[in-house]
Symmetry: C2
Subunit: 383 residues, 2 copies
Amino acid sequence: MSDATRIMRVADRFAMKRGGCLAEVQLAYETWGERNEHDSNSVLLFTGLSPSAHAASSPADERPGWWEWMIGRGKPIDTDVYHVICVNPLGSCFGSTGPASINPATGRPYGPDFPELCIEDMARSAHALVDLLGIERLHTVAGVSLGGMTALAYAIEFADQVEQLVSISSAMRAEASAIAIRSLQREIIRSDPAWKQGWYFPEAGPVDGMRLARKLGIISYRSAEEWRQRFGHDRLSPPGRDVHGFGLEFQVESYLDANARRFVSGFDANCYLCLSRSMDWFDVAELGGTDEAALARITAHRALVIGVESDSLYPLHQQRALADLLCELGRDVEFVAMPSIQGHDAFLVDLERFAPVLRSFFKDHALLAEKQHYLVRQCAANE
Amino acid sequence: MSDATRIMRVADRFAMKRGGCLAEVQLAYETWGERNEHDSNSVLLFTGLSPSAHAASSPADERPGWWEWMIGRGKPIDTDVYHVICVNPLGSCFGSTGPASINPATGRPYGPDFPELCIEDMARSAHALVDLLGIERLHTVAGVSLGGMTALAYAIEFADQVEQLVSISSAMRAEASAIAIRSLQREIIRSDPAWKQGWYFPEAGPVDGMRLARKLGIISYRSAEEWRQRFGHDRLSPPGRDVHGFGLEFQVESYLDANARRFVSGFDANCYLCLSRSMDWFDVAELGGTDEAALARITAHRALVIGVESDSLYPLHQQRALADLLCELGRDVEFVAMPSIQGHDAFLVDLERFAPVLRSFFKDHALLAEKQHYLVRQCAANE
């Protein structure tokens, strides 16, 4: 958890969508920039499955965040203009309540006793946080991947408090192939004997299962074209660790292995299982009867929907379907199809393509004028 | 193993490409049709990683084979015209020598003592079989997937004995993304405690690891588009087996599970590991210094190269590269890009598209004339 992370107890007795109840919910979040005079500049950002709320550096924590090039002074989401709040979702393990948190009823981690987690629970708990922060309306709710689903649920369930929606590499529901991959990841984790039906000790979790599941995750997050260019058929020189005659021989194997080993040291397996499953369960139609009825609940007047041509997890046509439907419902929609080769993960790495699109969307002239006014007034006061 | 399967001891002291030596090699094979008068009608067929030599039914074994609609009387590869030989490759476990075979030196299965297996070893052992059968020239060497690589190696190494080459959903080498997937499959199998560094008892192998690896295999063999159409976001009704709160809920999960469970009952894990690794290692450039020099060794005058647009394991551009290079080298090449949605596995299931292409290629007018002649002569003899 970052030094800049704040923790807020957002609810006692939090009832979950699929049943069950949490005795208390806390959420971890980070903020950048200041709320303006009219409290009209807050951007709520939902992360993908694995990152923490540390989306960008700040004086309180100078380590680069997962969207460092997107959020900050003079950056596409300009913190001289906007007040950005990034939330670690309910169910995760970076400060928010999740399966790794202590269950007050037993004094030990919830583990498998954590109630079934849905995207809608993440949205509703984040709304409680926004409420406690005293923010009545959000300038923008934005999300990437899992977070895009959460942003969509938020914009539907709390429609009158959301002015703009940004959905990146996400969808109204998962495709069968994405469900297949995530289902397999979960089964790999659960097949590790160290998982112990979820009752592992925190320091002795199923690291092998998590490492293998993460490798499959990375395969689904990137694209064949990117790896063709980066790794081709290139071998390691010298070869890597040898494991019973099946050592690492190819560059791509070494890349996967190093990435997966970094990941598993920090992520709780039960949290991963719950968050992963919530993405399969999500279906926007449940929020209105049909996709159209659900999206019709959105009152945000403007939306930015971004998809990536090489994304095999949330294919481009899924973002196009969301944008088209919002457009048919009369919203002002900007749909961008990125030709990035980095697949689902492009929003993390393809600065060159994503930064200008986000910068342009967040060039809100009213807010910029207000900021100018504010600066002028400040100068006057200082004189 | 099929009742129609024959076993041939093809070598004593068989030296392997990457070092090591097998004291004896036997291969399992099946045949359909008869060798003609000039012994000019033999088609050698190499399978993908997992099937046996039982490619089609016959009076000796009436169960449908893995390419039932392709091989037989009046079928695209017409056994009234052709003599078809399908080989279970070296390293597999359906009658051919492989890691599950008894090591004569120890009296127990080779297991991890099986020497490192290459595609070229499969080609060379199959050549020994063809030699022992007394066939001097092959009308066609054909292969699918792994078998396409073997057919290519065969057509290079034994060029003067091959008249035509058929390569389906294969490549001159694996892509980085295919290596990543197979490497992960192998690691999943090796991570199953029941693998025991390869020294499991045959009846107590790593079935869980094999089941998970097979699921990943299926994900890589089919396409997102096919599953979108077949399964969408559809749930099972009633839900499937519940496993610690993570039961099968979606149609696609049930499909994967049923398929994987069928598979693991029949396939030896060490064989799977060796065959899988051989596909990553294969690089046609090793057979000539460069791709071009390797393919220049081929003297087959005619080739059919088929790729599938939705194949993510051996993407279409890989088959196009093979066809283009053969064409540049002056071979008569037919390249077919199939718009099938079944991905890498299309050759197994997309009868409608594959059958006419193969039928047309195998309409060899010289042979058909000869058959006509033969029938006429038979009639004369019978009168």
